[in-house]
Amino acid sequence: MTYTASELLAVSAARLLEDRKIVFAGVGTPLLASVLAQTTHAPNLTIVLEGGVIGPEMAPGRLPISTNEMRAARRGVLLPSITQIFLYAQRGFYDYGFLGGAQVDPYGNVNTSFIGPPERPRVRLPGSGGACDIISHCREILIVTTHERRRFVERVDFVTSPGHVDGPDGRRRAGLLFGRVTKVVTNLALMGFDPATARMRLEALQPGVRLEEVREHTGFELPAPADVPHLPPPAERELAILRTLDPERTFLG
C-alpha cells in the first residue's frame, strides 16, 4: 500500500491520541490526526482550535485552511475569544498540544522565528503564533514534522517554543511548571525523551525505515534501544478516512 509522508504523519499521530481527552490542534496534519482519531478509536476526543472554538465537528471535504474561519467552527459548542482559548490552556484544561517547526533540537525546543541570527536573519519565519503558548501550557506535547537533517539540529537558532529547554530541570527553572514535550512523530520514526537527560531518543521506526536512515537525517546524536521496533503501517481504513476528509489533498500532499 502506498501513502504520502503527510498521511503517515497523520496516522501515527492519531494513534497517540487517547479517547476522552482534549486536544489543541492546528490546521493541517494535527487536525487530520485528531479527526482520524475521533473516527477510529477516540470518538469522545474533543478538539480545540486556536481561532477560538471548542468541540467542532469537521465536515469531510470542507476542512479549514486556518483555525479562525467559519469552517473550523462547524458544530462547535463554544466560541471563546482567542485570549480565552489560550487562558483555558494556561489553566490546564488541555491534554494534548500539537507543534511543528522549522528547527527542532534534542530537547524538543522548536524554532519558527529565525534562521540565522535574529539581528540579521537569513530567513525571517512567520513566528510563534500559538506555538509558544501550546508548548508552555498543554499537558502532553506532540511534535509532528518531516524528518530532515536541516530541521533536526543540535541547537535551534532561536527558541520560539521551549521544550525541555536544556535538561531535565530546564522547564522548572524557567518557571514552566506544567506540561512537557512527550513525543516527536516524523515520517521516519517515533521518538521520546530520556527522563535522565531530557534529550530525544528513538522509540520506533516507521515501516520499512532503517535506523541508519534516521541517523543520517538527524543532526544530533540519537540514542536507540538495542532492538528498535517498527510501527505498524497505516491501515487501509485509516487512509480511506483521511482521503475522505481531504479529497482535494490540500494537506495530504
Binding site: 486556518s66 479562525n68 474561519e69 466560541l79 509558544c132 532561536f158
Partner: protein, 316 residues
C-alpha cells in the same frame, strides 16, 4: 503612544468625547482619526473579519510610519509595507495562511530592516491588549518563559510575591486607533459580533480611538432587544461606518466566506512577482477604485453572492 504608560492612556481616554451621539460617517472621514506615526490595532484574525474598508482608506489617504498590531497578520500587512505606510508590525505571526508558505514580502521588508517585526506569543499579545483594556500596566503569564521570545520582545520576569514562582510579565499595549469590523452596530457605536469574537472586545477598550465598520447599522431599539449580544460599548467608539461586505475578500462569519480564489491569486502573484505584484494589487484594488462600492465591483456581484451562499450553507 503604544509604549505610553497606563496613566497617560487613562488621561487620554478621559479627555475624549465619550458621549452617546450619532457617530455615523463615511469611511473617508473616519480614517482621518488615524494620524501618521500611529499604532493601529487591527481586529479580526488572519482572514476573518479584517476591516478592509478602513484599511483600504488609510492606504488611499497615504498614511505613513504606522505600526500595525494584530494577533495573526495576513497580507494586509504586506500591502502596508509595499505602500510605504508601515514602519513596524507587532504580531505573533505574519504570513498569508498555511498553504501559501513563507511570505516573500514580509521576508524582504523585515530581513532588510525596513520594517520592524516585534514578535510576541499569541497569548502574550492577547494579554497585552487585555492589560490595556483593564487599565493596568502589565499582566503576568506563564507563556514565553524559557523561550528566546521573552527577552527579545521586551517582556520581563518577576518572582511572584505570593507563591515565589517565576512569572513572565507582558506590558499593556495601548493602540492609538483600533479598526474593527462587526456584524451590526447602532449609530452610537454599540456593536455586536456573530461567531468568533477574536480579540475585538479587548481592542475596543484598549485603544485611544475606535473605528467600527459594520455590515449593518441597526435601530438602537433592535439592539436593546438583544443586549446580551453586544460586546462593544458605545463609549469606546468614535466612528461608525456602514459597510456591507466591509471585510471582503476576507470572511465575515455567517455572512460570507473568504474569497480563497482571490487570496490564492494574490499569493501566487506575489510568490512569482514579489513586491511588484503587490504594487499592482494596490493599483487595482486600493488606489484605482474611488469608492468601496467600486472596489466591490472589481470582484463582481456574482462572486459576492456565491461567497454568501457558501457561508449560509456552512451555517446550516
Amino acid at each position: 503612544m503604544s509604549d505610553a504608560s497606563f496613566v497617560e492612556a487613562r488621561r487620554r481616554l478621559e479627555a475624549k468625547d465619550r458621549s452617546r451621539r450619532d457617530k455615523r460617517m463615511p469611511v473617508e472621514r473616519a480614517a482621518e482619526l488615524v494620524r501618521d506615526g500611529d499604532h493601529i490595532a487591527i481586529g479580526g484574525c488572519l482572514y476573518s473579519r479584517t476591516p478592509w474598508v478602513t484599511l483600504r482608506e488609510l492606504l488611499r489617504q497615504r498614511r505613513r510610519d504606522l505600526t500595525l498590531s494584530r494577533n495573526l497578520l495576513c497580507y494586509e500587512g504586506e500591502l502596508f509595507m509595499v505602500a510605504g505606510a508601515a514602519r513596524g508590525i507587532v504580531t505573533s505571526w505574519a504570513g498569508i495562511g498555511l498553504p501559501w508558505g513563507l511570505s516573500r514580502i514580509v521576508r524582504e521588508f523585515v530581513e532588510s530592516g525596513r520594517v520592524r517585526f516585534d514578535e510576541w506569543s499569541h497569548l502574550a499579545l492577547g494579554l497585552r491588549y487585555r492589560a490595556a483594556a483593564m487599565g493596568v500596566p502589565f499582566l503576568p503569564t506563564l507563556s514565553m518563559l524559557g523561550s528566546d521570545l521573552l527577552a527579545r520582545a521586551g517582556a520581563r520576569t518577576m518572582t511572584c510575591p505570593f507563591t515565589g514562582e517565576r512569572l513572565c510579565l507582558v506590558p499593556a499595549l495601548f493602540p492609538d486607533v483600533a479598526l474593527l469590523h462587526v456584524h451590526r452596530a447602532d449609530p452610537f457605536g454599540n456593536a455586536q459580533i456573530d461567531g468568533y469574537p477574536h480579540m475585538d472586545a479587548d481592542l475596543a477598550v484598549a485603544a485611544a480611538a475606535v473605528i467600527v465598520s459594520a455590515e449593518e447599522i441597526v435601530d438602537p431599539e433592535d439592539l436593546r432587544r438583544h443586549a446580551d449580544r453586544t460586546i462593544i460599548p458605545f463609549f469606546a467608539v468614535d466612528a461608525v461606518v456602514e459597510a456591507p461586505y466591509g471585510a471582503y475578500p476576507h470572511e465575515c462569519y455567517g455572512l460570507y466566506e473568504a474569497d480563497l480564489a482571490h487570496i490564492d491569486a494574490y499569493a501566487r502573484g506575489v510568490a512569482s512577482g514579489g513586491a511588484d505584484a503587490a504594487r499592482r494589487h494596490l493599483d487595482d484594488y486600493v488606489y484605482g477604485p474611488e469608492t468601496f462600492e467600486a472596489y466591490l465591483e472589481r470582484f463582481g456581484v456574482g462572486r459576492l453572492l456565491e461567497r454568501r451562499r457558501a457561508a449560509q450553507e456552512l451555517s446550516r
